[in-house]
């Protein structure tokens, strides 16, 4: 027997109480783990952004387009290594619910600024050469069962052709992957092919991606670009790719703040419940603590034991919750089609490590008051109450 045995036995002396407390902590950490995994996917654009890539959008909003001619002018700015552009197609396949995230791009320049996109050389060449080609990310191709040579229609819920239809026919001539964690859950096609049939908004583009010669030049390049288009009908705003991705993710609201609120609410509730229960549990054991002190257990050792009890409870619940979250995330990620829409969904290591840190912190916070109370137990008073 050692102190750990005592801690463990005290912790589980009232099994139902211990199980319910563990369960409540487990739920908080399950929420933390699952939301952490989803947040990572949501925020992956910012994490995967290159240091020397900038994005220029219309100053009003990134959903408002700007003239195609801006692309050429930006390429001439000092410090710009390469530039490309894209336009949001808002595509779907057959049914509006079967979404395909699709961009109209200039293939050659686009692939130059995005070396993270991995193509077979002949498919890369085919994509650049064939104006009806649709380059499809592996996750999307797998989800819809598409393969090279397939001819498929994609419909837009934004754009229309001059003949009134919203359907474009494409030939799948390339299937690409993302390097490491880079997402491959979208499709691309020739801007020219799409632009020539547009019923409105011709020669307009959504955003321009700029690769600078060095990340050190980002600020000056961004400044030059925005100054160049100042006081024009389409003023621009240029920011780093990371900031752009974050802004894109936050168009649905401040996700980080929402998650913080949800997780914070769960943890505040748990803190109150577990803290109050621990205080009650230790108060019930005042007599036993007095006996231990009588036997010669020093007050600091009793303080440590009570605090350890709380930390152990929190760690057990926390690890079970994180483990369950890992299991759930793994199951969700393995479900058909999920990788097409939530690429790279997994339990991030930093969420797991952060979770363990949070469990220890929760244990310390909920255990500190009972531990101080236990340390202060007066033997004579406590034994006199028996």
């Amino acid at each position: 027997m050692n102190d750990l045995t005592l801690i463990r036995k005290n912790l589980f002396r009232k099994k139902l109480r211990a199980i319910l407390l563990t369960l409540s902590i487990l739920i908080a950490f399950l929420i933390f783990g699952v939301l952490g995994a989803f947040y990572k996917v949501w925020n992956s654009g910012a994490e995967l952004a290159a240091d020397n890539r900038l994005v220029t959008v219309n100053r009003i909003n990134f959903t408002v387009t700007m003239p195609y001619a801006y692309w050429g002018r930006i390429q001439a700015v000092e410090g710009v290594e390469a530039a490309s552009f894209a336009n949001w197609f808002g595509g779907y396949y057959q049914e509006p619910t079967r979404r395909v995230q699709t961009f109209a791009v200039d293939p050659e320049s686009y692939l130059n600024v995005y070396p993270e996109l991995v193509f077979e050389p002949e498919q890369r060449a085919a994509f650049i050469a064939n104006r009806t080609c649709l380059a499809v990310g592996r996750d999307i191709a797998d989800f819809y069962g598409w393969s090279l040579g397939d001819r498929i229609p994609l419909l837009s819920n934004i754009w229309q052709k001059s003949d009134g239809s919203a359907s474009w026919e494409f030939d799948i001539c390339a299937v690409f992957d993302g390097r490491e964690d880079y997402p491959a859950n979208y499709a691309m096609f020739h801007y020219e092919y799409y632009n020539e049939d547009l019923a409105f908004n011709q020669d307009q583009i959504g955003w321009i991606v700029i690769q600078t010669q060095s990340a050190d030049l980002n600020a000056s390049v961004a400044d030059t670009i925005d100054t160049m288009f100042a006081n024009s009908p389409a003023e621009t705003e240029t920011s780093t790719e990371a900031a752009f991705s974050e802004g894109f993710a936050n168009q649905f609201g401040n996700i980080a703040l929402i998650l913080l609120f949800v997780v914070g609410s769960a943890f505040s509730t748990i803190l109150i419940i577990v803290g109050f229960t621990m205080v009650t549990a230790i108060n019930e054991r005042t007599g036993e603590i007095a006996v231990m002190k009588t036997l010669g257990f020093p007050a600091p050792r009793i303080f440590r034991m009570v605090l350890s009890e709380s930390v152990m409870l929190s760690l057990v619940g926390g690890l079970l919750g994180l483990g369950l979250a890992w299991g759930m995330v793994t199951l969700i990620a393995a479900a058909p089609g999920v990788s097409a829409f939530l690429p790279g969904l997994s339990m991030p290591q930093n969420v797991f490590i952060g979770g363990i840190g949070l469990a220890i912190l929760l244990g310390l916070l909920t255990g500190i008051i009972p531990a101080i109370n236990a340390q202060r137990v007066k033997i004579v008073t406590a034994l006199g109450k028996q």
């Binding site: 027997m1 002396r13 036997l295 257990f297 007050a299 033997i379 004579v380 028996q386």
Partner: protein
């Protein structure tokens, strides 16, 4: 017999609201090593308070408590805890065993404060349980034992670290006669065979008869009632 305890001019006063209650005033006594004293007296006479002062779990208002030359009343809380673990074994009226631990684990508790190895602790626990006749109950939890058996486990816990003195506060107060006699015989055995100094507080005159000396505490003074054990 050499003196184990020296109490000089010991006073204990409590303050309750604006009132000061004096338990005893300028009490002086000596407890020889190997003695078995029964302290009797009416409720509120200060029997348990005296036991607490001897055990270093309470401090006097004035005067001194000396044990083998150590001023117990002057020790810091930390040193006092260590001193208790090495010198004193406590036996309570309501046994005060840990309900979640087995008999053997309860007995082992004081040994967690020593540097003994796990094997040595097990041997000591087995010996202590054997002395109180509960070797076959080592795996039982307190609720699976009778009151008498629980008190014997408490005695084993009190002697396992081999203290010189056992302080017993109404050790038979919660037991039937037969169990009480067993406990008192065990205490007598510990006093006679192992030389433990025992100070026992009791209300029960028949329990006091097991002691070598009976002291009656009344109005802060001792009256010695008996010098030799009757049984």
């Amino acid at each position: 017999m050499a003196s184990l305890y020296e109490l000089k001019d010991l006073s204990k006063r409590y303050t309750r609201g604006k009132e000061t209650i004096t338990i005893f005033e300028e009490l002086t006594m000596s407890i020889p090593q190997g003695d078995f004293i029964a302290i009797m007296g009416p409720s509120g006479s200060g029997k348990t308070t005296l036991l607490n002062l001897l055990g270093g779990i309470d401090r006097p208002s004035s005067g001194s408590v000396e044990c083998e030359g150590v001023r117990v009343d002057k020790l810091s809380e930390g040193k006092l805890a260590k001193w208790r673990s090495q010198h004193v074994g406590f036996i309570f009226q309501f046994y005060n065993l840990m309900p979640t631990l087995t008999a053997a684990q309860n007995v082992e508790l004081p040994l967690l404060l020593t540097k003994l190895s796990g094997k040595q602790r097990k041997e000591r626990v087995a010996t202590a349980l054997d002395i109180v006749g509960l070797a076959d109950r080592k795996g039982h939890r307190p609720r699976q034992l009778s009151g008498g058996q629980q008190q014997r486990v408490a005695i084993a816990r009190a002697i396992v670290a081999d203290p010189k003195v056992l302080l017993c506060d109404e050790p038979t107060g919660d037991l039937d006669r037969a169990s009480a006699d067993e406990i008192l015989e065990t205490l007598q055995l510990l006093n006679r065979e192992l030389g433990k100094t025992i100070v026992m507080v009791t209300h029960d005159p028949s329990a006091a008869k097991y002691a070598a000396r009976e002291l009656h505490l009344d109005k802060g003074r001792f009256i010695e009632a008996k010098a030799e054990p009757a049984q």
